[in-house]
């Protein structure tokens, strides 16, 4: 059984087709990259998988269960988690608070309104461990808005991990990260638990080819081709559409 499957998923806004019969399958532990020029519909596909957008056609299966009609937050409860291309964090809260919130939501204590936060000791420890793992242990109690950009990208990943996903969608995790901070980020991504299936969008080809075991190339909402990094690297069509004119660096 695949961890994540999309079957002929399609979406159009009027005449603009943003997703054209896309079928993907991620087995357990997959490292699957989604590449394509800007406007190819990569983030749209993520939004269709997470449920932020409702598809016109097709289905999304999560560990064999059809989740096409479920609310985004219900999909998270079933093990689907994501990061955002543009930092989508809690500027006034600290990373520790953010992570604790995420963990409370996962373990079902987020609605507890009569018990003090400090009573949830395991959650706090877990949050701190998680932050330490991504290298934010020392800055866990600074307001998020005061963190460096690269640190905020790391917090994106940490929060996505807090819900203990089985499937993780990373939307350009390295976007905008300066070279000086990207090494730390690559390390974190490389160290992600092996049993999590990962679908990631990335423009940094170093990251894609060093990390992905399979690659799907998306063009104008449709799958151009899919294959191993080797196959993709040598596919002339990919070179043409992707590396040819549309690459934007």
């Amino acid at each position: 059984m695949n961890s994540l499957e999309t079957n002929n998923i399609g979406k159009a806004f009027g005449k603009l087709v943003v997703s054209d019969n896309v079928s993907l399958a991620l087995p357990k532990g997959a490292r699957h990259a989604l590449i394509g020029p800007n406007g190819a519909g990569k983030t749209t596909l993520i939004n269709l998988i997470t449920g932020t957008l409702a598809p016109d056609t097709g289905t999304v299966l999560l560990n064999g269960e059809d989740v096409t009609r479920l609310e985004p937050n219900a999909r998270v409860k079933r093990g689907l988690s994501r990061t955002f291309q543009i930092n989508t964090l809690f500027p006034q809260l600290t990373p520790l608070e953010s992570a604790v919130m995420a963990i409370c939501e996962r373990n079902g204590t987020s609605g507890h309104w009569l018990s003090g936060l400090s009573k949830h000791a395991e959650g706090i420890d877990e949050a701190h461990d998680l932050l330490s793992k991504v290298g934010l242990g020392d800055d866990a109690v600074k307001p998020t808005r005061d963190l460096a950009y690269g640190q905020q990208r790391l917090l994106e990943i940490a929060l996505a991990l807090a819900s203990r996903p089985k499937v993780l969608l990373l939307d350009e995790p390295a976007a905008g990260v300066p070279k000086s901070e990207s090494a730390a980020l690559f390390e974190v991504i490389a160290a992600l638990p092996e049993d999590i299936s990962i679908l990631f969008i990335e423009h940094d080809m170093n990251l894609v080819f060093s990390f992905a075991s399979r690659i799907t190339v998306l063009v104008q909402g449709a799958i151009l081709t899919e294959g191993t990094p080797d196959e993709i690297a040598h596919d002339p069509r990919v070179r043409e559409v992707y590396l040819g004119g549309a690459h934007h660096g």
């Binding site: 985004p72 400090s118 706090i124």
Partner: protein, 323 residues
């Protein structure tokens, strides 16, 4: 700092708070004996303000119609008393329950809209409730207000007299207890979740949070708080009129909260104290033109203390500590 102790410190009761509450309990009785009626209505306003802070300051739900729940609580306690059951504490409890129920019904609508639409829908509901109170005059006494409210002795011992001793003691006690409850709520996992939703609802959804459910829950809690505040006023003043539900009261309480500073609980209390006392004192000097000075105060606060008076004080304290 060690994370658990940091989290604990976040919710720790500071010495300032203890001083504040002792002062609140003692000073009016000792130094402002003749102002106890005013002090009691300040306490009511502070409680109402806290109820608005729970949704506006912590969950980001803006409302121009929160008096609807204040008024429902006031009418519940008032009608209960006018129909022969004037025991105050059970009146508060019933008012909380009825307001919470009303809040629950309204909450389905509230959590689906934002910004101007939210403002206008809450405002519209407030007007609708006022009209209802006027129309159903056999229950509410119509626009003349409800007559025949008689609040029994508090705990069967203390009579509510025009001196206001019982009224203030009662109001400040209820305020204190519900303040502790509010404080507990904002420092709970639920409170943290609300702040997160306020900060970024897209992210909380992506973390699996049912935003609407959480927001509905705090709205219901807040409605109950507002209902208790309304019931307190009805019991202490032994009057309720449709104005208790109205737009003006809603707008005033929002002004008090923003004035004091949102998302701090103490901002709500401070805003209520400053606004009510300023109005009482200024209107004593400038019977007809006090609006002018209140207006200037509001403008001044926005320009120089954009996070409210408490926010401004905190900033001053920080600057002081640094230098």
């Amino acid at each position: 700092m060690e994370p658990k102790s940091w989290i604990r410190a976040r919710a720790r009761i500071s010495p300032y708070e203890i001083v504040f509450w002792i002062a609140a309990a003692v000073i009016p009785f000792v130094f402002f004996e003749h102002y106890l009626s005013l002090a009691a209505s300040v306490a009511v306003a502070a409680l109402f303000c806290i109820s608005l802070d729970l949704i506006l300051g912590y969950a980001g739900i803006i409302s121009l119609g929160h008096a609807a729940f204040f008024g429902i609580g006031a009418y519940t306690a008032g009608i209960l008393s006018a129909r022969g059951w004037g025991e105050p504490i059970s009146g508060l409890a019933l008012a909380a329950a009825v307001s919470a129920l009303a809040g629950y019904i309204v909450s389905f609508m509230i959590v689906r809209v934002q910004h101007l639409a939210l403002l206008m829908i809450t405002l519209g509901l407030s007007f609708l409730m006022t009209e209802l109170a006027i129309t159903f005059d056999q229950f509410t006494g119509g626009s003349d207000g409800l007559q025949g409210i008689d609040t029994w002795k508090l705990l069967g011992i203390w009579k509510f007299s025009l001196w206001g001793h019982t009224a203030y003691a009662y109001a400040i006690s209820v305020l204190f207890i519900l303040f502790l409850l509010a404080r507990r709520i904002v420092h709970s996992p639920f409170g943290l979740t609300l702040e997160a939703i306020r900060e970024n609802p897209v992210r909380t959804t992506a973390l699996g949070a049912p935003n609407r459910g959480h927001l509905q829950k705090i709205f219901v809690i807040s409605a109950a708080f507002a209902g208790v505040a309304g019931a307190l006023l009805a019991q202490v003043s032994e009057t309720v009129s449709p104005e208790a539900l109205g737009f003006q009261r809603s707008a005033e309480i929002a002004v008090m909260l923003i004035l004091g500073g949102t998302g701090r609980l103490y901002g709500a209390i401070l805003g209520a104290i400053i606004f009510m006392v300023a109005r009482d004192q200024i209107s004593g000097f400038y019977l007809q033109y006090w609006y002018f000075w209140i207006g200037l105060i509001l403008i001044f606060v926005v320009l120089f203390m954009p996070r409210g008076i408490l926010g401004g004080l905190e900033r001053l304290a920080r600057i002081g500590r640094r230098s």
